[in-house]
């Protein structure tokens, strides 16, 4: 009996996956399973950098004494002549990279997001963006989910400070596989680009077959039938939490859609406007300050084009602190409960 019940449950699960997850995205079929695979987003970066380096010899990597934990070591090991160890000197990291780009290289610079782009903002602005050089900045260990290291190491302002610089592309991948693709795609553009990475293992949402394009948002979840009552616009590892919320609310009869915005800039305005037109009420979700990040970008777009009620989920003008990633995500209201509360607020 029990095995029949679990088989039925499995069939229901597959059926709901098929109905609510657009099939053309070829997402991980195990998303809603408790044993979904997990991997750190930064690992996807390391693999993407190595892969990109194999196909394009103009690619060089520079690191500020964090080669192992940013996964730059994969590249450094295979291409020692194209790797520069800069030491704990993030301003130099950015400006040396700009000089290398001026000679035709495509430099990837890596550190923790708190230090790069946290400490070297002006060098990034002037030597990479104002100079229009294709420097690629990978900021690892972003967000409060760095955990025990505490507030000094939790970059929750990085997307805001990068998004505001002209010419900068800002990408915040939702899992390790998307991070790998984002890194490889970033290597092909002539633009300065910031790629935001997280430290902790997070669930794998996409597959190698899932399409990825810089500047394109993707609809990951839609109601079983009819239009959504609330649309969740989300970026980074919290895409997983948003999907969990959507599935749980669907069971309660609340119709939700979920849009993964992995490129914060240039923002997929067309995609966001059409998503907002269908849902009419929105919740934005990001592991970042509410000020200046994804929510702000979405609001800027919609206020001009299609004013829509929005509730923002994110950190509200405070610093982080030590704790486990789960404790912190929950404390700052970015967990499933926090997102669900925001959905209820925007509905009422």
């Amino acid at each position: 009996m029990r095995s029949v019940a679990s088989k039925v449950e499995l069939l229901v699960k597959i059926a709901s996956f098929v109905v609510m997850i657009p099939q053309e995205l070829k997402l991980n079929p195990k998303i809603f399973d408790t044993d979904v695979e997990q991997a750190p987003i930064r690992e996807g970066y390391g693999k993407g950098l190595l892969e990109a380096g194999r196909v394009d010899e103009r690619i060089v990597a520079l690191c500020a004494d964090l080669t192992g934990s940013t996964k730059t070591d994969l590249f450094a090991k295979e291409f020692p002549n194209r790797f520069v160890q800069i030491g704990v000197a993030e301003q130099n990291l950015a400006a040396v990279a700009s000089g290398m780009a001026a000679m035709g290289k495509i430099p990837f610079i890596t550190s923790y997001a708190m230090f790069s782009p946290g400490r070297n903002w002006e060098q990034i602005r002037t030597t990479a963006c104002y100079n229009d050089q294709p420097v690629k900045i990978a900021g690892s260990h972003a967000g409060v989910s760095v955990g025990p290291d505490g507030g000094t190491h939790q970059a929750i302002e990085d997307m805001a400070i990068m998004r505001v610089i002209p010419r900068m592309t800002v990408i915040s991948p939702c899992d390790a596989i998307e991070a790998k693709k984002a890194t490889m795609e970033a290597a092909k553009t002539p633009h300065p680009t910031y790629i935001r990475l997280a430290r902790e293992k997070t669930p794998i949402i996409t597959t190698e077959a899932t399409p990825f394009e810089i500047g394109k948002a993707s609809l990951l979840f839609k109601p079983r039938e009819g239009k959504a009552e609330v649309g969740i616009i989300v970026t980074g590892a919290l895409v997983y939490q948003a999907l969990m919320v959507a599935q749980a609310l669907e069971k309660e009869g609340v119709r939700i859609s979920v849009l993964n915005v992995s490129t914060i800039k240039p923002l997929d305005k067309k995609g966001i406007i059409s998503f907002a037109r269908d849902a009419r009420r929105l919740v934005t979700v990001e592991e970042h300050q509410v000020a200046g990040g994804l929510g702000s970008a979405v609001a800027e777009c919609l206020v001009e084009n299609l004013p829509t009620p929005i509730q923002f989920v994110g950190v509200r003008d405070v610093f982080g602190q030590s704790g486990t990633p789960d404790e912190l995500i929950s404390h700052y209201g970015m967990d499933e409960r926090g997102i669900t509360d925001a959905v209820r607020r925007v509905l009422s």
Partner: protein, 287 residues
């Protein structure tokens, strides 16, 4: 080595460049005076004797690179480039004006021949070093290019310069040649009052640089130092060029008040008169 005729020519050119600096700053109504006048001889030596470059083809791949880190002294860079044939001398009168290619601080995209945009101090040496490192990846130690970075002494306050100094020493980049404008002034006063820099030579030596100290108004010393730097095969070179801020206009010389302001009409007249009277005379402090 410089023969007498060449030396005479350089003295003449640098004087013309100084006049242009005064004229363009007067027309602009803002900008920096002391630094550009003080570095006119170094820029003249670079663009009229040392550099491998082609003013008619600024994008020439094999050119030497000049990276101006202290972008605020750009009037001397613009004036030198114009006199060298990069663009018409009369365009100097557009300095700092709306839509001018001669931006208040240099912008690489606006004017061909400018390698990097600069102004915020401290990051030029890093960019020059990055260029040299990239060049080494492509050409090893057999590169035929040199990377000349002009830095200021006030810029030594910035941590970014120290970071670049350490990395360049570690990497032993032989074709990176930095020339520091050691004029002892910055905006707020004398460098040793604002933030003591001495012993300057020892700092760079400690970072594994080959360090030379010269009179930055003596063409023979400038050229000899650069030739020596070019011969060093395992380390970057720092040339500490002792200069006089405001050089050529006695009324402006050695006064930090002239760091960041342009002359008015009357002051410009005094300056141009002084420069005209200098015509044909050797201007080195040591001669």
């Amino acid at each position: 080595m410089l023969d007498e005729e060449k030396k005479k020519k350089l003295v003449h050119v640098s004087n013309e460049i100084r006049k242009s600096i005064i004229e363009m700053l007067l027309e602009a109504g803002s900008g920096h005076t002391a630094g550009p006048l003080g570095m006119a001889d170094v820029f003249t030596a670079l663009y009229f004797h040392i550099l491998k470059h082609n003013p008619k083809n600024p994008e020439w791949e094999d050119r030497d690179r000049v990276i101006l880190s202290n972008g605020h002294i750009c009037p001397v860079l613009y004036a030198t480039m114009a006199h060298a044939g990069y663009f018409p001398v009369k365009e100097l009168m557009t300095l700092r004006k709306f839509s001018s290619r001669l931006q208040g601080h240099p912008h690489r995209e606006w004017l061909p021949g400018i390698e990097t945009s600069s102004g915020p101090l401290g990051s030029g040496l890093s960019q020059a070093l990055g260029m040299a490192l990239a060049d080494r990846i492509d050409h090893g130690t057999s590169s035929s290019k040199f990377f000349y970075c002009l830095v200021s002494d006030g810029e030594m306050d910035a941590g970014n310069i120290w970071e670049a100094g350490m990395l360049a020493g570690k990497e032993g980049v032989h074709n990176l040649i930095a020339i520091m404008d050691r004029n002892n002034i910055q905006i707020d006063g004398y460098t040793e009052d604002v933030m003591p820099l001495e012993p300057l030579k020892a700092k760079w030596e400690a970072w594994n640089w080959h360090v030379l100290e010269i009179d930055g108004h003596n063409f023979e010393e400038i050229v000899d130092a650069v030739e020596q730097a070019q011969a060093v095969f395992n380390r970057p070179t720092m040339i500490l060029a002792n200069t006089i801020p405001g050089k050529g206009v006695p009324a402006f010389e050695r006064k930090y008040e002239w760091h960041g302001k342009p002359p008015n009409t009357e002051e410009a007249k005094i300056a141009l008169d002084a420069l005209r009277s200098l015509e044909g005379r050797i201007i080195s402090e040591n001669s």
